[in-house]
């Protein structure tokens, strides 16, 4: 089966600094693929390239066979490729419901006149949108918090709101940037269930995550990055025993890595 997302020899340089040297991998439709690697390996940069927030210095990204080189982030979202963010994942000053409603803003596309006049069609659309938002909030298990400000939720709950936002655009593929950071063990466990449920509904998942047990449990396949380069690719079992991966995380270069991070910071 052909890939839903292809990252083809992508390189990214900021001035003299190489964030990604040469990244090359495919994501197959319907799989859960994890992108792992030590801090500063270029994972978030890779995400920003795949979703159009950065344009790669070399190489290209294809989503469903379409080159994203000239596609803006909002257009990529509309193609069905959604993402979550590591740090600012919610509209903090709005309620959870309003957050998801913002995520749903592209549904229906009423005419300018309908925006100004409360026509029956506009009112019906509004009602439908709200119902849809409530269903999504219910799915991620935040119904009880629907009317609280997203910024007042716990960190883990905010990640769920971010996830709900991404779901709101009904993506065919979802990029999750450290979705369980800030979640406790039981929250993480139920999130794993949620991710599986979304995948079973036909959404391909690409995951960046530091929680290794979670990654090992949920992934079908894993690719490992270090120094902006792909160092290993395989099933969780294969990755667990890969010499290059072990060295990247624990090995002799660990001290050197710290230095490099300090220099990049």
């Amino acid at each position: 089966m052909s890939a839903i997302l292809s990252v083809e020899h992508v390189g990214m340089r900021f001035g003299g600094l190489t964030a990604i040297a040469d990244l090359h991998f495919d994501v197959k439709p319907g799989e859960i693929l994890s992108l792992i690697g030590p801090n500063g390996a270029g994972k978030t940069t890779a995400f920003n390239i795949m979703t159009g927030f950065l344009k790669p210095t070399t190489g290209r990204v294809l989503f469903e066979g379409r080159d994203l080189a000239k596609t803006k982030p909002n257009e990529i979202a509309r193609l069905g490729l959604a993402r979550t963010f590591q740090r600012t994942s919610v509209f903090a000053n709005d309620t959870v419901l309003d957050n998801v409603l913002i995520g749903l803003q592209r549904f229906g596309e009423p005419s300018l006149l309908e925006r100004l006049l409360p026509t029956p069609r506009a009112l019906a659309l509004e009602k439908e949108t709200r119902a849809r938002a409530e269903a999504i909030i219910d799915m991620v298990g935040l119904s009880a918090r629907a009317h609280e400000k997203a910024g007042s939720l716990s960190y883990g709950e905010q990640r769920l709101v971010g996830f709900a936002l991404a779901l709101a655009i009904e993506p065919r593929m979802l990029l999750l940037d450290e979705p369980v950071s800030g979640m406790n063990a039981s929250e993480t466990q139920s999130f794993v269930g949620l991710v599986r449920k979304v995948r079973d509904a036909g959404v391909t998942i690409l995951l960046v995550e530091h929680d290794m047990p979670m990654v090992m449990e949920v992934s079908d396949r894993i690719v490992c990055l270090n120094y902006g380069r792909l160092i290993a690719e395989g099933t969780p079992a294969e990755i667990r025993n890969d010499a290059a991966v072990i060295e990247a995380y624990l090995g002799k270069s660990a001290a050197k890595l710290d230095l490099k991070e300090a220099a990049n910071a």
Binding site: N74, G156, S181, E187
Partner: protein, 346 residues
């Protein structure tokens, strides 16, 4: 609570001319109303998209000139031997043209400056206003330059079955301004409550996140700029047909500043904010005039602007809303400062 402010304003101000006979105060109220419309239009941009138009007076002034020239007529020669002659027509047509032309102008300015985010829109609008002022000053054939356009006719409304009604009295103009203000309020209220409003709010709060959800930033911001400019243009038209004389001073930066203070003090991003701010800063000059020189008044306004931003950065109306909300037994959830704290909490 703050939902009641707008209807309350409408009822109170609809009744004012019935008991107020003082022409000076009526005049102050009409001008206040016109600037409140400007403040509402500015709020659509500053309050809901976070983009500040510091050349808002340009749209106001263009609206005034377009409307006045449509009513008065003009005869200008252009390069290449072209010549445009317009006989003069109905002020109502001027009002409509003022809205259309300022809308298109706002659209163009938006398309141009929203290509990049940051302070660009502010800077483009402020220098645009300066250029329009220069044009008004130098294109004497069209605008009479510093000599001003005079004898602009009052607004005329065609009433079905009754013929044309020319609004000559203060009371008539008062109700005209009130009517346009109500319409403007409703337009902003509907826009903000719609999907379009959600897109604006998303962009303002977290642009990257909004983009990732498919919000078209340029388009959303440009539409907001278009509507906002058209509304300021409508206010400019009202001004021209009420005051009946306009000169390049309608493009003064201090008018923009007045609008900004009205919005910021009243509460940007709240529907009632510009109404409250507009009323306060529309009538404050009336109160201060006997006791202070204009320069001293401006020092006071500048001080109030700073004080509001320090004490209640969201403005008066949201501050009031917070106050009333706090009295209710709120289900306060503590915001975790760190992920660790969040973990410990749950």
């Amino acid at each position: 609570m703050t939902r009641l402010i707008a209807p309350l304003f409408l009822v109170v101000f609809a009744l004012v001319p019935l008991w107020l006979n003082d022409p000076y105060l009526m005049n102050a109220l009409i001008i206040t109303g016109i600037f409140t419309i400007c403040a509402m239009s500015l709020n659509l941009l500053l309050g809901y998209t976070g983009q500040l138009s510091l050349g808002h007076v340009a749209f106001f002034g263009i609206g005034a000139y377009v409307s006045a020239l449509t009513a008065l007529g003009f005869d200008v020669s252009l390069p290449f031997g072209l010549r445009i002659t317009h006989e003069g027509g109905s002020p109502l047509l001027g009002f409509v043209l003022a809205i259309l032309i300022t809308g298109v102008t706002g659209y163009l300015i938006g398309r141009l400056s929203f290509r990049v985010r940051g302070a660009y829109f502010v800077i483009v609008t402020i220098s645009f206003a300066e250029v329009v002022r220069l044009v008004a000053l130098n294109w004497v054939e069209l605008t009479q330059g510093p000599l001003a356009l005079t004898s602009i006719p009052n607004m005329t409304l065609p009433l079905p079955g009754l013929g044309d009604l020319t609004l000559r009295t203060k009371m008539q103009n008062y109700y005209l301004v009130l009517g346009v203000a109500v319409l403007s309020y409703l337009v902003v209220a509907r826009l903000v409550a719609s999907r379009f409003g959600r897109a604006m709010r998303g962009l303002k709060e977290n642009e990257s996140l909004a983009l990732s959800l498919g919000v078209n930033a340029t388009r959303t911001l440009t539409i907001a700029a278009t509507v906002s400019a058209a509304m300021a243009g409508a206010a400019g038209s009202l001004y021209a047909h009420y005051i009946r004389i306009i000169d390049p001073d309608v493009f003064l930066f201090s008018y923009t500043v007045t609008m900004v203070i009205m919005v910021v003090a009243g509460g940007k991003g709240s529907l009632a904010g510009p109404l409250v701010g507009g009323l306060i800063f529309g009538l404050l000059p009336v109160a201060l005039r006997p006791v202070m020189a204009p320069e001293a008044q401006w020092i006071v306004y500048g001080g109030i602007l700073i004080a509001i931003l320090f004490v209640m950065p969201n403005g008066i109306v949201p501050a009031l809303a917070n106050l009333t909300a706090r009295r209710r037994p709120a289900s306060l959830t503590k915001t975790p400062e760190t992920p660790a704290e969040a973990g410990a909490q749950s």
